[in-house]
């Protein structure tokens, strides 16, 4: 924290005191948003489900009965409890084992893409919201170009150039989030930039990039929390979809998206290796969306109560 030190006694500066206090209040607002969101049932349900899926993904490999690449039965064997809880997949590997192994990649890659999107989007949103004029115009126009491509199409365009590489997919999914996040960050920045504590910092002659990152950024955390939850939901869907299309995780990896693709042909005789990954991806996205929705509602509630925004 680097709020300007204020010498009381100088009449002009003394007036700025309440502005600084206000800045402190804004800083803790995201904590308020969190606690307000936690009061809502939907947030608790979302967090609960999310933790269960994370637990499956993290602990899964330790409790899996077989190795994820071991052939344990004829292809597409039906479930046989207690030996094969969910049957076998298209080349005869244990489905339960592969389900237990397959969550890590989806969750980690989706998280990485979301963090990249947030990093790029927030930086651009802060700059455009605070710089305005031609920098704002230029950057927003360029972001419109990224927005003109549906996220999956943009990713496929780059995959067609550089091949199906994991880092590329994570990077492009992240970048395709950036314009949407930048719009939210920009709107919040525009509003905060009008506040007294920013005006005060400007009057002190503090470097504008310092004001941007030390004064404004902490004040726009709440809407960004909502964005994080929302973009994580979409990242999970996109990353899983790309594996499902065959451009994400490659065989013989155990990955929920890839499992769906590999075992689709056997869906009539052995639905489990398709159904279980689909179910887990589905409830994971519902959980993250519930959390995002809870945060969003908390934010709206707080803004209404405090007359902010």
């Amino acid at each position: 924290m680097s709020t300007p030190e204020i010498r009381v006694g100088d009449s002009d500066l003394a007036e700025l005191e309440p502005a600084v206090v206000q800045s402190e209040r804004r800083r803790s607002e995201w904590l308020m948003t969190l606690s307000e969101a936690w009061r809502m049932g939907r947030t608790k349900i979302g967090v609960g489900i999310f933790l269960v899926i994370i637990a499956i993904a993290v602990v899964g490999p330790w409790v899996a009965p077989y190795s994820p690449t071991e052939l344990v039965a004829p292809p597409f064997s039906a479930p046989d409890i207690p030996k094969l809880w969910l049957g076998s997949d298209y080349i005869g590997r244990d489905v339960l084992t592969r389900v237990l192994y397959g969550g890590r990649t989806v969750i980690l890659l989706a998280l990485a893409a979301t963090v990249i999107g947030l990093g790029v989007g927030v930086t651009l949103g802060l700059i455009t919201g605070y710089a305005r004029r031609w920098i704002d115009e230029t950057i927003m126009r360029l972001l419109d170009v990224v927005l003109a491509f549906p996220q999956i199409v943009l990713t496929l365009l780059f995959v067609s150039i550089l091949g199906p590489r994991l880092w590329l997919i994570v990077l492009i999914v992240g970048i395709s989030h950036a314009p949407r996040i930048a719009r939210v960050a920009r709107a919040a920045t525009l509003e905060v930039a009008q506040r007294d504590f920013v005006r005060a910092a400007e009057a002190f002659g503090i470097a504008r990039w310092k004001i941007l990152f030390n004064e404004i950024m902490p004040s726009i955390t709440s809407p960004l929390l909502v964005e994080f939850g929302l973009r994580l939901t979409y990242s999970i869907g996109l990353i899983a979809a790309l594996s499902f299309l065959g451009f994400g995780m490659q065989p013989p990896s155990a990955d929920w998206g890839l499992m769906i693709n590999e075992n689709r042909i056997g869906i009539v005789i052995q639905p489990w290796p398709v159904f279980v990954p689909v179910l887990l991806i589905g409830i994971l996205t519902i959980a993250t969306n519930l959390i995002a929705d809870g945060l969003g509602r908390a934010l709206i509630g707080i803004e209404r109560d405090t007359g902010v925004g």
């Binding site: 126009r141 360029l142 419109d144 170009v145 003109a148 491509f149 549906p150 996220q151 999956i152 199409v153 496929l156 365009l157 780059f158 995959v159 067609s160 150039i161 550089l162 091949g163 939901t233 999970i236 869907g237 996109l238 899983a240 979809a241 499902f244 299309l245 065959g246 451009f247 769906i260 869906i267 009539v268 639905p271 398709v274 159904f275 689909v278 991806i281 589905g282 996205t285 519902i286 993250t288 969306n289 519930l290 929705d293």
Partner: protein, 322 residues
């Protein structure tokens, strides 16, 4: 110039600018390829320097990049997008029937999703906080979260392979030899998948905007004037609530253009989405370029339409007050 016309012209100009930049990005995609088209066509024979140079000259690759771009763009505008690298035929010829299939699919999905979501969106707003509202809201929140392939596979498991075995076809291989209206059954599951994926967004936005308008001062004013409730809703509330909904509707129709990629692949539906997936796997760049350009153009035009409709329908904007 009247302010309304000026507003619309500015939007059109910005839309054209975006389209232009999109074409630059798509063109640049091939330029970023390791090696060029000549190398891609010749493969190992590219080691033969003389042949490689000759082909480069023939394809015009030895000319400055901006000249190549202008020629490529000219081709795009006149409907010549080059030849597919995989099937030795013009891209536009291979695309024809598939474009029709995809647009039919998107059209069916739009016809299903827009009225349903508009109706449910305004009804939930009018019957706010009732059991009806809560169940629709929670249901749409969950649906909105689900990736489209999750919805599609759930429908396949339910209607095609497991629960109601054979009620619907699990794959939608539309036969190019038959007219579309004879094969509408093949469009149902993919269209319903797209509908369920897109409708929740329109519904939620419309609900929120209707509520906002119903609580606004001018609606309260209209009520205080003693206008009948029906008139308050029809003349004052709904037109203003419709503006953001139009925007979201067009936006989501644009989203459908991207959503078709995964859904068509899932149902083996012969449209431009599944062709995009195949072309990316085969690195058939002219085809990838053409499809990306079509999808992006649809998106930009849908957005533009949304903006213009918003300007025309919203009394606040129409009078030039922002």
């Amino acid at each position: 110039m009247p302010p309304l016309l000026k507003l619309i012209l500015i939007r059109v100009g910005l839309g054209l600018l975006t389209l232009f930049l999109v074409s630059v990005v798509v063109f640049a995609a091939t330029q970023a390829l390791p090696g060029d088209t000549a190398r891609a066509i010749l493969g190992k024979e590219a080691a033969d320097k003389a042949r490689y140079e000759a082909l480069r000259k023939q394809l015009g690759l030895d000319r400055p990049i901006h000249e190549q771009y202008i020629e490529w763009l000219g081709g795009v505008v006149t409907g010549d997008m080059g030849d597919s690298l995989v099937q030795d035929e013009p891209v536009t010829k291979l695309l024809g029937r598939r474009v029709v299939n995809t647009f039919t699919l998107v059209f069916v999905a739009a016809v299903l999703s827009v009225p349903i979501s508009l109706l449910l969106g305004s009804l939930t707003a009018l019957k706010r906080d009732t059991l009806f509202d809560t169940s629709i809201t929670v249901g749409s929140l969950s649906l909105a979260a689900l990736p489209e392939f999750v919805i599609g596979i759930a429908l396949i498991l339910f209607f095609a392979t497991q629960v109601l075995k054979g009620a619907m076809p699990a794959v939608s291989r539309v036969d190019p030899g038959l007219p579309i209206y004879q094969q509408l059954k093949l469009f149902i599951l993919p269209a319903v998948t797209l509908t369920l994926a897109v409708a929740p967004y329109i519904l939620r936005i419309l609900r929120a905007s209707t509520i906002e308008v119903l609580e606004s001062e001018y609606v309260m004013m209209a009520r205080l004037k003693g206008l009948p409730e029906r008139l308050v809703l029809n003349r004052h509330a709904l037109p203003n609530a419709l503006a953001p909904a139009l925007q979201v509707t067009a936006l989501n129709l644009a989203w459908l253009a991207g959503g078709v990629v995964v859904v068509e692949y899932l149902f083996a539906f012969p449209g431009i989405g599944s062709l995009l997936v195949d072309s990316v796997a085969n690195r058939d760049m002219p085809m990838v370029q053409a499809i990306c350009l079509i999808i992006a153009a649809v998106y930009v035009l849908a957005n533009l339409t949304a903006d213009i409709l918003t300007i025309l329908v919203s009394p606040r904007l129409r009078t030039g007050l922002r």
